[in-house]
């Protein structure tokens, strides 16, 4: 599949943003961090910026961005529509939670409900993003039980590393935060590895024979494509540039989203602020770069069944 930069940026940035906002809300309501107004403003503000920037960039790949509002209408059937509805709805508890944290200085009473609802909506929005891909039967690398958990785990991991870095800057770091980072790292390490093993070993049920219905005659192969030049379908679904480097890119991504953040978090988070702040910030930047590479591969490694009509021998 052709990796659209706007979609990669959107899923990466919004995943980190929702992860950060959800963890801020939960830590705030459970008393895991101090409700320092500046910390709240910067943390929730950065999360909102990531989410909003991501959402705006996702409209950049549309043919008609000015009609994007129409995407709110089909929530009954379309996960893309549900994602849009949930992403927009999340702003309501976000504003209310921010009000409680920054203005009231407390997340108790109704504000505790808003904060929990906010975390829930962050979870649901990332879940909807994953479901857009997981429900496409045409792409077996996406249509599986790992896709959605991987999206959620990366949102947790990137959000936790950004929160950890911010907490260091404001002097509010706690062992609980480092523990959440550790959980995120473990989840991502396990889930992404098992995702890759799954897509490497699970062939698509579709073949050139099933695509043409000519299986009774024997093995089917393309003799002549329909056009001399590439069609829209080949450009959009037939992207394979990164595929031959996929093993190398997988290792680079793993280093960047798992190994480096792990080492940096372990080595710097208990040190003095002059080491801990740049160290944890570098971990957050590293994981974000790693997720961009991982998302690029998510698209580039995904084969679409329609390519069976254009000479692919498997999908």
């Amino acid at each position: 599949m052709h990796p659209a930069y706007s979609v990669i940026f959107f899923t990466t940035a919004s995943g980190a943003g929702y992860g950060l906002i959800a963890l801020m809300a939960l830590f705030g309501v459970l008393g895991g961090v101090k409700l320092d107004p500046w910390f709240g403003a910067v943390g929730l503000g950065l999360g909102a910026l990531m989410v909003t920037g991501g959402l705006l960039s996702s409209t950049a790949h549309l043919g008609h961005p000015e009609r994007a509002w129409r995407a709110y209408s089909q929530w009954k059937s379309s996960w893309l529509s549900r994602e849009g509805v949930l992403a927009t709805a999340t702003y309501v508890p976000l504003v209310l939670t921010a009000w409680g944290w920054i203005v009231e200085g407390s997340l108790t009473g109704p504000f505790s409900v808003f904060a929990v609802v906010l975390a829930l909506f962050c979870f649901l929005t990332v879940h909807a993003t994953g479901m857009i891909y997981a429900t496409l039967r045409t792409i077996s690398a996406w249509h599986n039980r790992r896709t959605v958990p991987v999206y959620l785990a990366f949102a947790l991991l990137t959000g936790s590393l950004w929160l950890h870095a911010l907490a260091q800057m404001f002097g509010h770091q706690t062992p609980m935060l480092a523990a959440v980072v550790a959980i995120g790292l473990l989840l991502v390490m396990f889930l992404k590895r098992s995702y890759w093993r799954l897509i490497d070993t699970t062939p698509s049920p579709s073949t050139p024979e099933s695509a043409t219905g000519l299986g009774a005659l024997g093995k089917v192969r393309l003799l002549d494509p329909p056009a001399m030049t590439e069609t829209f379908i080949q450009r959009e679904m037939g992207f394979s540039i990164a595929r031959k480097h996929s093993q190398k890119l997988r290792r680079i991504a793993f280093l960047s989203y798992c190994a480096i953040p792990f080492a940096l978090t372990l080595l710097t988070s208990e040190a003095g602020p002059w080491i801990a702040i740049p160290g944890t910030l570098a971990a957050a930047i590293s994981v974000s770069i790693g997720v961009v590479i991982e998302r690029w591969l998510f698209f580039a490694e995904a084969k679409h069944v329609s390519m069976l009509y254009y000479g692919a021998d498997s999908a």
Binding site: M1, H61, L62, G63, H64, P65, R67, A68, R70, A71, S73, Q74, K76, S77, S78, W79, L80, S81, G84, I132, T135, L136, R137, T138, I139, P205, S206, P208, S210, A211, T212, G213, L214, A216, L217, G218, K219, V220, R221, L222, L223, D224, P225, P226, A227, M228, T229, E230, T231, F232, I233, E236, M237, H304, V305, S306, M307, Y309, Y310
Partner: protein, 253 residues
């Protein structure tokens, strides 16, 4: 709108005979010709005289080879929207621009509501939808909705452009929801197949597989009454067969 209509009604669609299709691409050309002035007009043509001509076509003819050696067959394979009963391109659409008509099952795009997100093209296993880069919207086969109900053209022409133009009569149009329609009977007689049934989208269009090859036909029919042909075929040169055998040897040098 993006919810699918209930099953069981009229299912207009195409039946494509892979036995008789000669791969002339006339259906694809006439489709482009009609539709660039029809319901989804215009269909873009980018760089038409340059090195990378490309644009939107609703119907494309692929040519496949199936089987090995002397048993292999060349099969021309026109591919267009199959107007699936459970069309995923419809249910994934976030705006309701992509829809399936309840009255005849035709899958269409409302270009005024399409945001050009391309998700429907990702959901389609058959590569039937093509994006119009000029208009920023998705386009697809309309089953020539502007011909089949068009009272301004003679009744005999009220079929999709691809069907009307096929010189080999390899394309048939009708209601596949009616088990007694001509197309349904044809599908039953010839064992018409679904493409990628494993996707579960229940395509309406059907493909009639090539008939079994008559492998020994050289020794039957006309050939059987011409001894020299028979002899040449069996490698036993006699009479005129000797001459042909000699020509074959000379030319093979």
């Amino acid at each position: 709108m993006t919810m699918l209509p209930p099953h069981g009604g009229k299912k207009l669609g195409l039946v494509i005979d892979l036995d008789t299709c000669v791969g002339c691409h006339a259906c694809a050309v006439n489709c482009k010709e009609w539709n660039t002035g029809g319901h989804s007009a215009p269909l873009p043509d980018n760089d038409p005289y340059g090195s990378d001509p490309n644009g939107v076509w609703f119907n494309r003819v692929h040519t496949f080879e199936a089987g090995e050696g002397t048993d292999s067959r060349t099969v021309h394979f026109p591919r267009s929207c199959l107007h699936c009963e459970d069309a995923a391109c419809v249910t994934v659409c976030p705006t309701g621009a992509s829809y399936k008509r309840e009255e005849d099952g035709i899958v269409l795009v409302n270009e005024d509501a399409c945001i050009g997100c391309k998700l429907c093209s990702w959901a389609c296993p058959y590569g039937a939808r093509e994006y119009d880069t000029d208009a920023g919207v998705m386009k697809k086969c309309t089953l020539c909705i502007d011909r089949i109900y068009n009272e301004n053209i003679p009744e005999a022409e009220r079929v999709p452009a691809c069907v009307s133009t096929c010189p080999a009569s390899a394309r048939h149009f009708g209601d596949l929801g009616d088990p007694n329609s001509e197309v349904s009977l044809l599908v039953a007689e010839r064992g018409g197949e679904d493409l990628m049934p494993e996707m579960g989208y229940k395509p309406v269009n059907r493909y009639l597989p090539p008939r079994a090859a008559k492998k020994d036909q050289g020794l039957h029919g006309v050939g059987a009454s011409l001894p020299w042909v028979t002899d040449a075929a069996t490698g036993d040169a006699a009479g005129a067969g000797k001459f042909l055998h000699w020509v074959d040897r000379v030319l093979s040098r």
